[in-house]
Amino acid sequence: MTSPLTPSPTGRTPPGMQVPEREFTITARTQGQMVRRRFLRHRGAMLGFAALMFVVLISYTSIGFGPVPGWWGLDYTSTGVLVDEGNPSLDVIPYLDGDGLSVGKHPFGQDQIGRDYFALTMRGTQISLMVAFVIGILSTVLGTLAGAIAGYFGGKSEAVIMRFTDLLLTIPVLIVAAVVGNAYGESGPFFLAVVLSLLIWTSLARLVRGEFLSLREKEFVEAARAMGASSTRIIFRHMLPNAIGTIIVSATLTIAAAILIEAALSFLGYGVRPPDTSLGLLISTYQTAFSTRPWLFWWPGFFIITIALSVNFIGDGLRDAFDPRQTRVRA
């Protein structure tokens, strides 16, 4: 089914040809243009994208990453003198409470040993984002490859891969992740991300396999095969572009889920370990401080929600954009 956005049966207009002025003029668009257009018009997705970009930028530039220094003067390890009992100095309520907007020395406050909580939260955001994106990318690559091989070749390779995904789907992710994280969590957040992606690529593999099973029977694949294209070429040049919608949407939603899984694991104590920190670990560390220093609890939660929510909205926008049945752009 073609989208009603391309009613012209002949496709694009030949270059140089003058399009006659009619009551309404229709320009043909490629599939990519249509998807991009639908995505850019999805208000929720654009807001989510802006919010995510803001969080990424502020977290990586403020305290710097690796050897690169950031613009925020304080770092997340050094303790200091408690200013105003560690209360946050950020003031975003303009003039209602008598003073104007201000950032102050410790906008997110300080913890009980005087560490700057803004720097700490930014460090946690960096690690959580890193873990989530590594999981998203790695499990997408793994799942796509496994699903493509299973769907395209069928037979023994399919049986092996699918039984393996059955196996992994039986075991609750949190339980395996906790066991692995408990034993090897010392090896750092990157390792944790790799382990988690080894556990959660299976659902994408099933989706991609389903897509490939139906694509395999399409005429254009048969045509490519008849012209002597190799299996690799057919998979990567002919079939994969047709499954890209499913893959991208699933990757986005995996990232959103990964943020929450990492946070949950770190909260239970099997994820990221001190001295490194992540948003989940920050909440876990300061949950008992809720009655005395509530801001230590609010900020990391706020950042987890912002990241997960904006990624979910981006995923929703992408799903709408890639859906060929989509005729109406959601406001």
Binding site: L174, I175, A178, N182, S284, F290, I304, N312
Partner: protein, 510 residues
């Protein structure tokens, strides 16, 4: 079908075998179960402790022998009557007994939350599908995305603070302060403006009226000391029962259908009469008494429907069954809530609990024990519900939208059926098919996923069993939890597939 089920069960067994081996390997090599003895200073005692543990758990055996020993015990669980042995944990307690103790606790927590979130999620999903692109739809969509993105442990801590500690403080001395009034009025306004629908003016007007009325009713309740001694009393219960009857009638026909309306109302009257006729019997009943009484009311209702239903007999029976169920629920709630004052005294005025599944050593009437369970269930159930509710509302919305565009729905409309019949009898039933699958899968998964909720709220369920074992590298105990959750997932996967075939005759399982 039988062949299919048997084949699936055999395949599940193989998967279970492979998964258990994978898991046993992972756990065995993840850490040292003797590590906790490194702190013992006396070398003789240390050697003795280590030796005892090695003996008890067979830690000297080669890895495969250990696994086969465990597997041998675990396989016995499959054969009824041969005893079930999941090994000993590090404290030499049998894991089978521990798991058997913990499982009902988890089930209680998960069952209530899942059932409630299915009912709520499906209802709201359908309303937002019917009113697609309305303000209600957008609000629900946004709320669902927000709930998806909430870390459950974060919500849980917030619930403890605002849902229990602050509410308990407030209940100790109820007063209408500005924030309380704003919250109550706002909630009431939101709820009613969403229910009313229609043009923006109508919604705003309804919201304003409901907001003011909400604050008024609330202030009245506070002033009359209702919160110290809540309950409905015979008058309000009768009114509520009548409303249930009208609602049940509306669900199946319309109010013009006097026969069905009269039957439902008669059932409601019978229900209230039985509830107050057997007042003494209900002061400290057992579940058996309760079930017998509600069966009696339902039977009388069905009898009335059969006798006077005439041409509308089918609808009348349905309506009176639903009515008797709702009235029973109402009476149950009323009696439970009425014991609040006594209960609150017994727990030192902190009725809403933040920790555990019941007050230790609590004894009281049936209603007080029920209330005790309910107040302990309240917060963890809310926490789980918030998140699964979002999924159900999204799925039922999508599925309902797809069905509402189907040809047979257009046919149903074209032949002149009322919108209610189209939505409830034609569209709703078909939209529920994919949801049955989802619910089964979700239920299997949530048993393993309640770990965090249990940890935060201190429920002694499977989650706590698991985390406590993990910290000590207690292989048998971890495997015990794992095997139960894995079996639950596999069984519910099978149920999901079978239910799909049962509900949708186009699907054949081969």
């Amino acid at each position: 079908m039988a062949a299919y089920i048997i084949r699936r069960l055999l395949a599940s067994l193989l998967i279970l075998l492979a998964a258990s081996f994978l898991m046993y390997t992972l756990v065995s090599f993840s850490g040292d179960p003797l590590a906790e003895f490194t702190a013992v200073t006396d070398p003789d005692q240390k050697a003795l402790l280590i030796e005892n543990r090695i003996d008890a758990l067979g830690l000297d055996d080669p890895f495969f022998v250990q696994y086969l020993n465990w597997l041998g015990g675990a396989t016995q669980c499959l054969v009824p009557g041969s005893g079930c042995d999941l090994g000993l944990n590090l404290n030499n307690q049998p894991v089978t007994a521990l798991v058997a103790d913990a499982f009902p606790t988890t089930l209680q927590l998960v069952l209530a939350a899942t059932v409630l979130s299915i009912i709520l999620g499906v209802a709201i999903g359908i309303i937002s599908a019917i009113r697609q692109y309305s303000a209600f739809d957008y609000t629900i969509t946004f709320a669902a995305f927000l709930f998806f993105s909430l870390p459950i442990f974060w919500v849980a801590v917030l619930l403890k603070e605002f849902g229990a500690i602050r509410i308990n403080d407030w209940l100790a001395d109820p007063a209408v302060t500005l924030p309380v009034a704003v919250v109550m009025g706002g909630l009431s306004a939101l709820f009613f403006s969403a229910i009313v629908g229609g043009s923006r003016r109508r919604r705003v007007a309804a919201g304003l009226a409901a907001g003011i009325a909400g604050v008024g009713v609330f202030a009245g309740l506070v002033a009359s000391g209702w919160f110290a001694n809540p309950g409905m009393g015979p008058g309000l219960v009768s009114l509520g029962a009548a409303a249930c009857a009208v609602g049940a009638t509306l669900l199946f026909t319309n109010l013009e259908n006097r026969r069905v309306l009269a039957t439902s109302l008669a059932t409601a009257v019978v229900g209230v009469a039985v509830a107050y006729g057997a007042y003494g019997l209900l002061s400290d009943p057992t579940w058996v008494t309760l079930l017998a009484l509600s069966a009696l009311v339902t039977a009388i209702g069905v009898g009335i429907a059969l006798t006077f239903g005439d041409i509308d007999r089918a609808a009348a029976i349905r309506a009176s069954v639903v009515t008797s169920f709702l009235v029973g629920l109402l009476v149950f709630l009323d009696r439970t809530v009425s014991s609040f004052a006594a209960y609150s005294d017994e727990v030192n005025g902190r009725p809403i609990a933040t920790i555990g599944s019941k007050t230790p050593n609590f004894e009281g009437t049936f209603w007080e024990v029920t209330l005790d369970t309910a107040t302990h269930l309240l917060l963890p159930t809310l926490a789980i519900m918030l998140i699964s509710f979002a999924g159900y509302s999204r799925y039922s919305r999508a599925s309902m939208l797809e069905v509402m565009n189907a040809d047979y729905v257009r046919t149903a409309r074209a032949k002149g059926l009322t919108e209610r019949t189209v939505v409830l009898r034609h569209a709703f039933r078909n939209a529920m098919i994919p949801l049955a699958t989802l619910a089964a899968l979700d239920f299997g998964a949530v048993i393993g996923g309640a770990i965090i909720t249990e940890t935060v709220f201190g429920w002694k369920g499977m989650g706590v069993l698991f985390t406590s074992a993990l910290n000590k590298f207690d292989t048998n105990q971890i495997m015990g939890v794992f095997i139960v959750t894995a079996v639950a997932v596999l069984i519910f996967n099978l149920i999901a597939d079978i239910s799909y075939a049962v509900l949708d005759p186009r699907i054949r399982l081969t």
